[in-house]
């Protein structure tokens, strides 16, 4: 699965640490998500969508 997490984060000028804090995960998890090494659980995907104020399908794609 692909995602636009890194782009969305860069657009808001957020650090990995800030995103990790608001998501309640480690920076390693944010890094793993951005590099496509890990696909988030459904609750985490919803949280990401809420934080970036975008629908899930516009952030994650197959």
């Amino acid at each position: 699965m692909n995602n636009r997490l890194k782009v969305l984060r860069a657009e808001r000028d957020w650090s990995q640490a800030h995103l990790a804090e608001v998501l309640g995960v480690s920076r390693q998890t944010v890094n793993a998500l951005e590099t496509g090494r890990y696909d988030p659980s459904l609750p985490l995907a919803f949280k990401i969508a809420r934080i970036f104020e975008q629908p899930i399908e516009s952030i994650f794609s197959e």
């Binding site: 990995q16 640490a17 090494r37 890990y38 659980s41």
Partner: protein, 216 residues
């Protein structure tokens, strides 16, 4: 020179290079410790009836302890720890504390794994040895539980994947050997033999999952 070598080495090969280095150092240290033990306890080693599983357990324990020490040393430098975990910038105080605690748990695992051989060599009363190991195992379980409680979903998923791979590989190997043993073409194994192999399988699975998820 540093830039050249880092450019020429593919990304996937870097963890493997580190692992190879760890095995090489563990091999040298293991040989040295074994040689020293044979000098200091010339009669204890033959009397202890060391088997291949003892050697395997010693290597695994050495690897765990060495890995823990490496993380503890790395954690003295926040930037280096950040690079090790592929983070943007240096590791925070919380990340350093978590890394150190995880390293302690890993090192403690190695120590407990060594104890059956150490107790056997020192001639400690077996019941006392088993009681001591059981107590330490309970302490280790509490520490592991704390690591799991602190972990986020990536680490928990990695633990689950490691357990799944280790279960199917271990179960498969055990079945093949048990079948061969039942048919009389393989020698019987002791519980310690089986445990040493299962631990090796578990650590190999853990390493593979960590590399795949970008944790190592």
């Amino acid at each position: 020179m540093t830039n050249l070598s880092s450019k020429s080495m593919p990304q996937w090969a870097k963890p493997l290079g580190g692992i190879a280095l760890i095995f090489a150092v563990c091999g040298v240290v293991g040989y040295g410790v074994g040689h020293l033990a044979a000098e200091v306890f010339p009669h204890a080693l033959p009397a202890a009836d060391l088997r291949w599983s003892d050697v395997l357990a010693c290597l695994l324990a050495g690897g765990l302890i060495f890995g823990a020490i490496a993380v503890l040393i790395t954690s003295l430098d926040a930037r280096r720890l950040g690079r090790m975990y592929k983070l943007e910038g240096p590791a925070s105080a919380h990340e350093i504390a978590v890394a150190r605690f995880q390293a302690l748990v890993i090192g403690f695992s190695g120590l407990i794994l060594l104890l059956p051989m150490v107790f056997s060599l020192t001639g400690l009363p077996p019941l006392f040895g088993v009681a001591a190991i059981a107590l330490l195992f309970v302490a280790h379980t509490v520490m592991n539980w704390r690591v799991y409680r602190q972990a986020d979903e990536l680490l928990r998923r990695s633990v689950l994947e490691t357990a799944t791979i280790a279960f199917f590989l271990g179960q498969g190997l055990l079945f093949i050997w048990a079948a061969a043993e039942r048919l009389g073409v393989a020698t019987p194994l002791t519980a310690w033999d089986v445990y040493a192999v299962l631990m090796a399988v578990y650590l190999a699975a853990s390493l593979a999952v960590s590399v795949r998820r970008g944790l190592a």
